[in-house]
């Protein structure tokens, strides 16, 4: 049996993965293990493959998104990106966060969907630059301490983006 999510999809455990390979291998695995393949199978087989199909979905979702992929890479190193003892953030990043939150609150108050859409785009640009940093830190320098800081930022930004999306939905 495989040891981790990357091995499950025959991928090297690094940040910069080939998403097309991930998707192709995910589909190949589901083609073998999906519950639809075991509808008339004996109960033990049904249950085991149901768990495997669940795991494959979880693994795929984790690796597909940069923030969860980075967090998972750190977990493989025994590092928890978001833990109670690990929440220090540089002041400038916190300021940036507050600024985004303010734009978000204003956008909601003024019901300006465009402002919120723009904010998502702005954050996307930031996310891109963080991803480039993570390729360097994880895959080249193997500097997991710095990678932890950047990962934490990425997670926070993913959260802000989610919140903006929810806000837009409520305004529709």
């Amino acid at each position: 049996m495989t040891q981790n999510y990357f091995e499950l999809f025959a991928l090297e455990a690094k940040f910069n993965i080939e998403l097309q390979t991930l998707e192709t291998n995910f589909r190949k695995i589901q083609a073998e293990v999906h519950p639809d393949r075991f509808v008339t199978a004996p109960a033990p087989e049904k249950i085991k493959f149901m768990h495997l199909a669940t795991l494959a979905n979880e693994a795929y979702q984790t690796l597909k998104h940069p923030a969860t992929r980075a967090k998972y890479l750190l977990e493989l190193q025994g590092i928890s990106a978001i833990s109670e003892t690990n929440t220090a953030m540089p002041t400038d990043f916190l300021m940036q966060q507050m600024e985004w939150r303010e734009v978000l609150e204003n956008g909601i108050a003024e019901k300006e969907v465009d402002t919120l859409e723009n904010l998502i785009q702005e954050i996307k640009v930031e996310v891109k630059s963080l991803q480039l940093q993570l390729i360097e830190l994880f895959d080249v320098k193997k500097d997991f301490t710095s990678a932890t800081d950047v990962t934490r930022k990425l997670i926070f930004m993913a959260k802000v983006s989610e919140d903006i999306k929810h806000a837009i939905e409520r305004l529709d």
Binding site: R27, I29, E32, T40, A41, P44, E45, K48, A53, E58
Partner: protein, 633 residues
Amino acid sequence: MALLQISEPGMSAAPHQHKLAIGIDLGTTNSLVATVFSGMSKVLQDEHGHALLPSVVRYLPSGEVVVGHEAQAQQSADPVNTVVSVKRFMGRSLKDIADRAHIPYHFVDSADTTKHLQIQTRAGLRTPIEISAEILKTLKARAEKSLGGELTGAVITVPAYFDDAQRQATKDAARLAGLNVLRLLNEPTAAAVAYGLDNAAEGTFVIYDLGGGTFDVSILKLTKGVFEVLATNGDSALGGDDFDHRIYCWVLDEIRTKVRESHGHFNPLNEQDTRLLLTKSRQAKEWLTDNHEAQITCRLSDGSFVDVTLTATQFLELTQHLVTKTLSPTLKAMRDANLGIEDIKGVVLVGGATRMPQVRHAVEDYFQQTPLTNLDPDKVVALGAAIQANALVGNRSEEDLLLLDVTPLSLGLETMGGLVEKIIPRNSTLPVARAQDFTTYKDGQTAMSIQVLQGERELVADCRSLARFELRGIPPMAAGAARIRVTFQVDADGLLSVSAREQTSGIEANVVVKPSYGLTEDEITQMLKSSFGSAETDKKSRMLAEARVSAGAIIQSVKLALAADSNLISDVEKLAIEAEILKLEAIAKTEDAAAINKAVDSLNHATEAFAAARMNASVSRALAGKNLDEVNL
């Protein structure tokens, strides 16, 4: 010369023997059954050549139940005992039903307001589950008659936006009808399968499905037999019925105005009149698909005559808000899938209500392309369900089909302050499992109440409560010291089960989320018993037939597995499994259903280690580029 081998009835001899599997579209207005004949999916017709079975159930004074056209013909004459659009009530309590005043049934709410509603008919109280089961029984009989054999199982379609309570209710109805449910399949996904395979379509497609009572929109990525749902959204209480209802309200207004102008008195409508006018409204809607105006004429029970003319323009104005109402879920689905309209290769229209020109135009305007309508919007769901059923029972299809569907609504738990903590977000690919840890609020707390919710809103009161259960026997600890892990698992039918476990003590509570809206296991058993009635022998032969079918299916499945993978286990293990197969094959020839089921369990048990070995091998095999087809040879 070799002699042809003939197997025992109900038992399969060769591993590749064709099994009878059907797909059922259990619709609000019409229901259909389809099957795959020599590689082609076909809708089965009744003896009069009708493919569509009106989803109408009538309870006759004689105690007989009629379903379909015959029942439909009597709906205005006997509205109280003739149930139409029962799907709208599935998994619902009385407080969920809007516009009750315009529905001519005698509803009875149970004392517990969270329980499913019931309808008072002359045959007694009936739940929507029992009424739906009548429709399913009729389709099952049609299939058995035209296929001439015992069915291995059925795929039943449900609106993608059905919640857990509605899905569970549908599955219960199928069980009551004596069907082995292979899978609950989402209607838009079924349509995508029929469309995609027929047109060898590749790319991202939108399925816009406006049925009689439900609206779904699903976005799917199609690649070489894989149908991956990227996002789904909808409204499980919006459909063609609402368009009828708008016309009905308009007619009422017209009548009132005319009465007032002539200084007469407007008599409130009775149940017959309500049903009659609703029927006339539906006919007017259908007429307006190809005509500029529709005349609505009928005589009411007080002798007054209704004669009004509705123009297509008026109809458009009356229903514009309903059409607009479908666009909001569409936009949400597009957003969830992270797509723009330029990413959409095609939009497939499904459901009879998409015949209305204003619906087509709205879809065309939104997606900036002409929607695809080359498959019959009434039949495409059943056709897709049959294809899936055929694949699920292991009949070979040309391509290996893989459906990756999602959960339509978020699932969560109630936390402090009446807020919902989401555990599984909507649009998660199935099957999915998530765990979340909770802790106690007070020192020495030994029990915890867990409420399971479904929906997108933040407040418990705005979401649907699926179940409430208690975890008891938590060892007394300081507040915040206990660790209660709650695990949600949603299976490929989209059905949820929840388990809770206190981590330090191992105290465990498991619940299959049988929503309060569904039936309890006891109720189902009771209903099954009473439906078999006095015909004890009928019940026995049915149980025997079912036991044989399931034995046959398992034997075939294990034989296929052995043929493919016996190298994964030792000869001793292999012999042990083969011995169980022989035992089961022998017992299946007897008349003892209980013994057959026991032997099935025994075979199940014998395959434990083999199943584990196959699971371990499956992943590496998947990525080594082989698939089961090649290995099976």
